[in-house]
């Protein structure tokens, strides 16, 4: 079970879904993630999974709703425009508190955009996207290994909190091939009872209803309060991040997913030039690692957020830091991946600005 394989990120994610005991997959083809549907249509079906190619992403997400409500471990995957189509359904799923895995192997937008990798869907994934006050637990892998590992974690979190969990990757992570080792995971040991599911009303219980409709405003407010309490609990318990060379860092790069790999390389490059830089990589984008960022704000001279978008997560960095240190941003858009050298330049510019400010102050 633990043999090392060389796989595409999309395939590794799909293989992990089978091994995690995912009972059903509903999806629609879209580049750059169609390998997930293809892999499951072949290998998944062979190993007993229900795999249905739906007529649209709208149908897919509502099939996820139905299957999750029926008590099954279930998932869908798509890429940016397809995920936009799912937003209404995701809001319903969050409101009805249905556990499921949603995967966005995102691409450059807006609009039909490009099929190249992008992180332009951060706001959509983290801040809502659909209507109403809801949150998704959002996991951001940065390697093919994590494309697999986060599937197990996502299903377990979904079942634990009765909440939809999104893996937010990008086209590069989906398409690149890397080594991956599948952990030992017995789905039978991770089964969470779902007494609320629509499995057919038995005489020993009242009927089960899956709905997001609460026409009485007082009742709807109570639902909202319960959801917010749940999100707070998730924030307390489930925030994950990785720190690289932060112990002595004067400068901090904040980046997630593919951008974090580039930033990691940039940290190595600037350290060779005498700049003490470190990296904080958020692994959960919701809940966001605001506390470690706030702590680091007391120790570093400045932060540089690197994203493959116009600057989305940087807003959360600034909220966490709350003005205590300067926060710069460097990003490329439309499917362009920044190079480590570009990140190095951006950081050097920030350092130079700091020296200049210090000289002026003196």
């Amino acid at each position: 079970m633990s043999d090392i394989e060389i796989m595409k990120g999309n395939e590794a994610l799909a293989e992990a879904a089978i091994r995690a005991g995912c009972r059903a997959y509903f999806g629609y083809p879209i580049t750059p993630q169609s390998e997930i549907l293809e892999y499951l249509a072949d290998e998944g079906r062979r190993r007993g999974m229900i795999v249905l190619q739906a007529e649209s992403e709208v149908a897919s997400i509502n099939m996820v709703y139905g299957a999750a409500g029926a008590g099954a471990r279930v998932m869908t995957s798509s890429s940016s425009p397809g995920v936009s189509l799912m937003m209404e359904g995701i809001s319903y799923i969050a409101s009805a508190e249905l556990p499921c895995l949603l995967v966005n192997v995102s691409r450059g937008g807006p609009g039909l955009g490009t099929i190249q990798p992008s992180q332009g869907d951060y706001f959509q994934a983290v801040k809502g996207g659909g209507h109403g006050d809801y949150r998704l637990i959002v996991l951001a892998p940065s390697s093919v290994q994590e494309m697999a590992d986060f599937v197990y974690r996502a299903f377990d979190l979904a079942d634990k909190y009765r909440a939809p969990v999104m893996i937010l990757a990008d086209g590069a992570l989906g398409q690149m091939m890397e080594k991956v080792r599948f952990p030992d995971y017995d789905p039978a040991e991770h089964v969470v009872p779902k007494p609320w599911a629509t499995t057919g009303k038995t005489p020993d219980r009242a009927r089960n209803i899956i709905t997001s409709l609460h026409i009485e405003t007082e009742q709807m407010e109570q639902i909202n309060i319960r959801l917010q309490d749940k999100y707070r609990l998730i924030a307390e318990r489930e925030t994950r991040w990785e720190e690289v060379q932060t112990a002595d860092a004067e400068w901090l790069i904040v980046a997630y997913g593919l951008a974090a790999r580039i930033a990691h390389r940039a940290v190595d490059l600037v350290r060779a030039r005498g700049i003490r830089a470190g990296l904080l990589r958020p692994i959960t984008l919701f809940p966001y690692p605001s506390k470690p960022l706030a702590a680091l704000a007391g120790r570093v001279r400045g932060m540089l957020t690197v994203e493959m978008n116009a600057g989305q997560m940087v807003e959360d960095v600034r909220l966490a830091v709350n003005g205590r240190v300067p926060v710069s941003f460097y990003g490329r858009m439309g499917g362009i991946i920044p190079s480590p050298d570009e990140v190095v330049s951006a950081l050097q510019k920030m350092v130079a600005q700091d020296v200049l400010t210090e000289t002026e102050a003196n």
Partner: protein, 257 residues
Amino acid sequence: MEPTSTAHPAPDMEVVYKRPDTLLDTRMHYCPGCGHGVVHRVLMEVVQELDIQQETIGVAPVGCSVFAYNYLDIDMQEAAHGRASAVATAIKRIHPSKYVFSYQGDGDLAAIGTAETIHTCNRGENILFLFINNGIYGMTGGQMAPTTLLGMKSTTSPTGRTVETSGYPLKIADLVAMLPGVVYVSRHSVHTPNAVRQLKKAMIRSFQYQKEGRGTCFLEVVSNCPSNWKMTPVESNAWLEEHMFPLYPPGEIKAPK
């Protein structure tokens, strides 16, 4: 004279007709004279008589019957507008031995949910569609539906529906009947006792086909909307016969040989 109750009949009286236990004893939100309550009742009579309460899972739509789960004593899911058959598809795939039905109005099934309707039927999902067609959006206050008759007035066709602006009434039952995955299509009404009996027979037949895994069953109920048609219930039933039936005639559209 003392009022009599069917729940507590006098000792010398025999109960010949009563609410099925599977239909919850609660006040419905439907307007007086609306067909929904009758369809609910027939459905639950069938569930009770076939003894499949534990095996039946329903899906309610967005529209007037959005609260169906408040009246039917079975496990149910409430779907997003138009997506009931996608939800029903998934439930059936997860629990293939259960009886699954999708209860939808004309706006839900034949406008916003047309893609899901066609593709669920085309996959031949072993579910039952219960399609309530009253030619109007009832819940939102009487707007034009895809099924609204030509010349029929609604809040969004105030001088009557015209082909020029809105095209033709959609006969979706005839449309899905063309699909090989669909095994049984029949059009009904609930405006007379005999019509109700015919619908009940069709439901029993549909659940039998579902048990045998023969494909999609699709029952249309041509119904009324006294509130938005702005008629009394009695007038609406007469109007239904006179105006709806010529375009949506009751009867079998497709059945196994």
